[in-house]
Amino acid sequence: MTSSPSASAPLLSIRDLSTWFHTGGRSVSRAVDGVSFDVMPHETVGLVGESGCGKSVTSLSILRLIERPGRIEPGSRIDFEGRDLLSLDDRAIRAIRGNRISMIFQEPMTSLNPVFNVGDQIAEVARVHSRASRREAWERAVDMLQQVGVPAPADRAREYPHQLSGGLRQRAMIAMALMMHPALLIADEPTTALDVTIQAQILELLAELQARVGMSILLITHDLGVIAESATRVLVMYAGQIVEEAPVRTLFDAAHHPYTEGLLSAMPRLGDRRERLTVIPGTVPSPTQWPAGCRFHDRCAYAWERCRTQVPPLYQIGAGHVSRCHLAAEPARRQASGAAAGAAPAS
Amino acid sequence: MHTLTWIAAAVLTTLVCGAIARAGDGDSGSPWRIALTRLRDNHTAFAALCVIVALLIVAALAPWLAPYSPIAQPDIVKLKNLPPSLAHPFGTDFASRDVFSRALYGARVSLSVALLAIVVSASVGTAYGAIAGYVGGRIDTIMMRLIDAGLSVPRILLLIAVLALWAPVPLPVLVLLLGLTGWFGVSRVVRAQVLSLRERDMVVAARALGASDREILWRHILPNVLSPIIVSITLGIANVLIVEAGLSYLGVGVRPPSASWGNMILDGADEIASLWWISTFPGLAIVVTVMAFNLLGDGLRDALDPRQVDG
């Protein structure tokens, strides 16, 4: 948990969020295990991690979209615009979904209803959350489609999801999400399924809309390139926990946590001349059996005794920069194993 | 003597169910073992399985379990139409035959007819569907149109007509008729599964390796269509049971004096208000058995669900 740079109150405040899946027998999958962070107004926060780290479950938890056998554990707290989301009744939370907090997903084909045309689906948002009539809602939907850059919006609105291309479907979903001008947009891998040229269009669109509407975006992705481009602040997740939080430039210039370092190193990038990509050895542990101590210790080149037994807290590294790594307390160790760690492991 | 056999039957049932439950133990990654574990954890389905095992064992041991002969008519004056009592747990019918013993023998007949008929249906249906699905193209289209034609014929009416005209029908012929009129559903299920498997990368990989069509069908396609076939068979048994019972009730299926649950219901149909035990017990037997097979079929479908196996 970092002190926010600006003095205003956070839009979204999450404290000790734990979402566990009780999948029968004795096994409990601790997909999200004690996550805390804030989202301030008008900012884009990136939540980055690989599959199995818990980032999608985090986003679903915010909107209380977790179904059995998953459960948000007691002790978790999610505050939005000053209200405790976890204590709201069904009606109240439904009034928030699509209205004050909206979500867009990776696969627009599966999140749009194939038997209704897109105009109706978008208009439905307005009819549910406001007193708009059918006609008014339809007109607002067409207008929204235009704002998200859909050409010939009146015609497109009458079409069905399968008749639209991937990029247009994603725009339709964005239109649906922004109908009520939400304060917070949660975008869960919004461009992963899209071609790179379409991805560029959608990222431009999101940036433009954010500037125009003034909302905050929680951008969830595994693509560090997308993060570098769109986020102002970045959270790195691993094994159900936040392992690093930093302003975006700091993260790329001076990442602290070995996992973040590993990710940045493992990514091939344009203009990269290295012969071999650095690899993070090992695999992600199972959420039913997180390792003791630091959850990254068995894959970390710097690990020592303390890492195996003691769970690292989030150490403050700099302004707005925290890292869940004991190296913060014993920085000399990074140099000591630096020679072994810096060179790429053999395979 | 009878008591001993009953105890033996109970013990046998417990042993078999226990063995099935234990077969799910261990940590081999085999998809079949995982399915068995899931089935075992599904209490409703496992209970249904135990009921079915019990029924099968009882039906198999019927000659040694039945207190009386199912066709003997000891005293048609004094012992007829007796309500259920200790001596006759299900009462006696108009010919002084013990309903309980008839029910046990009836189980034998009904269950074996259903099981054998399903074996016929499954074999024909699987072969037909697999060929249609794998070969594809125009042959597939023609084969499927034939199925459509077959499905448009009302099965029960056809069976009634054939059986009535060809009366009396020996049991094996009845089995064949039931089997040969009931394979269309299985073939469509198999075809759909084969069609989707054919395009899967794992089959493309096998072709890239140089595998022949026969090798691909045997090694890759068939093991992966077994699951829906098993489910289809289980649910199909329930279906055939009902059809056979219906045909026997109408008098064209299993003929008296052989007992089948269906014709036992017929026996008591006229006096169902007063001599309720003659029809009710075989009726209940059908209900319980069909429900058990349906529950097991549903449980098997969940247990064999490939989506859950694929991580």
Partner: protein, 367 residues
């Protein structure tokens, strides 16, 4: 501008002048669209519309493009896992399309494929050992004990422990399954492997492992790869030469360096500028293409890229003339009538309605 040498320059020749291992000429694959109960042919999806390329022994030729461009179909058609509609495929001189039965089976040993989806490319009902052994059995390369030993060897080569042979695919992660697929392909000792988006479905840290493995294997066994991908960062890392595809055609083909530093096709330029760069300080000078990728069932007339093309000299000639894939510089081919030099002469362009003279536009600096 010097007159371009177009005559026989279909692709960049190998550095030492060796003959290509795989030579593809004018490959076409159309999928018929059928209507009605009796499946009348109502049109065609022109997935691959005239592709020519060479792959030399030991090299990696990357085939890049977005969804619908036909790269996957091309890879599979080359191996005859999809039957080509037309065109010539020569492997080591032999005409692949003319082979059948036993001869085709023998050829299959030399040309293998690894897949994008680590989940659906392995049979969930077979053990890992059985999966890897299948190739050995089909081609009678080893049996019994010898086969088991060979399987262990292969698993070791791809970095998996020998005891995984008795386990089932679902017990492994995506990266490990991908390795199993690689071991399966290696079992028959191929010389050429089509890598169909092998790392697209994997996490970043796992991608690196698999890419390194593929590179190591290439060095050790002298393998040639046709590396199909849409992720340009990965491709730059592994490819020797790059072919860019759009709507079933190759629109640019050159050494990797050339394509990345000095792309000539406006499409390639836009593609490269669209890749998100993990450097927040980099000024993004993006070429944003308008519109969506058109459907291969209904490609635009003339140059397939013209509706989205940002070239300042784009005119009506572009909607009428199909640009040939021609040499723009030594070893660098591109298909654009507006990027000089071009064999489509100015009078020809005018005759097709052209109003603006071709001019070479240097790519917008993005790297």
């Amino acid at each position: 501008m010097t007159a371009p040498n177009v005559a026989s320059a279909r692709s960049a020749p190998a550095p030492n002048g060796a003959a290509p291992l795989l030579a593809v000429r004018d490959l076409v694959k159309h999928f018929p669209i059928t209507r009605g109960v009796f499946r009348r042919r109502a049109g065609a999806v022109r997935a691959v519309d005239g592709v020519s390329l060479d792959v030399f022994p030991g090299e990696t030729l990357a085939l890049v493009g977005e969804s619908g461009c036909g790269k996957t179909t091309t890879g599979r058609a080359i191996l005859r896992l999809i039957e080509p509609t037309a065109g010539e495929i020569r492997f080591d001189g032999a005409d692949v399309r003319a082979l059948d039965g036993e001869a085709l089976r023998r050829l299959r040993r030399q040309m293998q494929i690894i897949f994008q989806d680590p989940f659906s490319s392995l049979n969930p009902r077979m053990t890992v050992g059985a999966i890897v052994r299948e190739g050995l059995t089909i081609h009678k390369l080893a049996e019994g004990e010898a086969a088991d030993a060979r399987v262990r060897e292969l698993l070791d080569e791809v970095g998996l422990r020998a005891d995984v042979a008795s386990r089932y695919p679902h017990e492994f992660s995506g990266g490990q399954r991908q390795r199993i697929g690689i071991a399966r392909a290696l079992a028959v000792e191929p010389r050429f492997i089509v890598c169909d988006e092998p790392v697209s479905a994997l996490d970043v840290s796992v991608q690196a492992q698999v890419i390194n493995l593929l590179e190591d294997l290439q060095r050790q066994h002298g393998l040639a790869y046709l590396f199909i991908a849409h992720d340009l960062s990965v491709v730059e890392h592994i490819a020797d030469r790059v072919a860019v595809m759009y709507l079933g055609r190759i629109v640019e083909l050159a050494d990797a360096d050339e394509v990345y530093r000095r792309p000539i096709m406006p499409y390639t330029q836009a593609l490269l500028s669209a890749v998100p760069v993990p450097d927040p300080t980099r000024e993004r000078r993006r070429i944003i293409l308008s519109g969506d990728v058109p459907s291969p069932a209904n490609p635009p007339s003339g140059c397939p890229f013209h509706p989205r093309c940002p070239h300042p000299r784009k005119d009506e000639a572009c909607t009428r003339l199909v640009p040939p894939l021609e040499q723009k510089e030594a070893g660098h081919l591109a298909a654009c009538i507006k990027q000089t030099p071009t064999t489509v002469s100015w009078p020809e362009q005018q005759a097709a309605g052209g109003t603006m003279q071709p001019e070479r536009i240097m790519p917008v600096a993005s790297g």
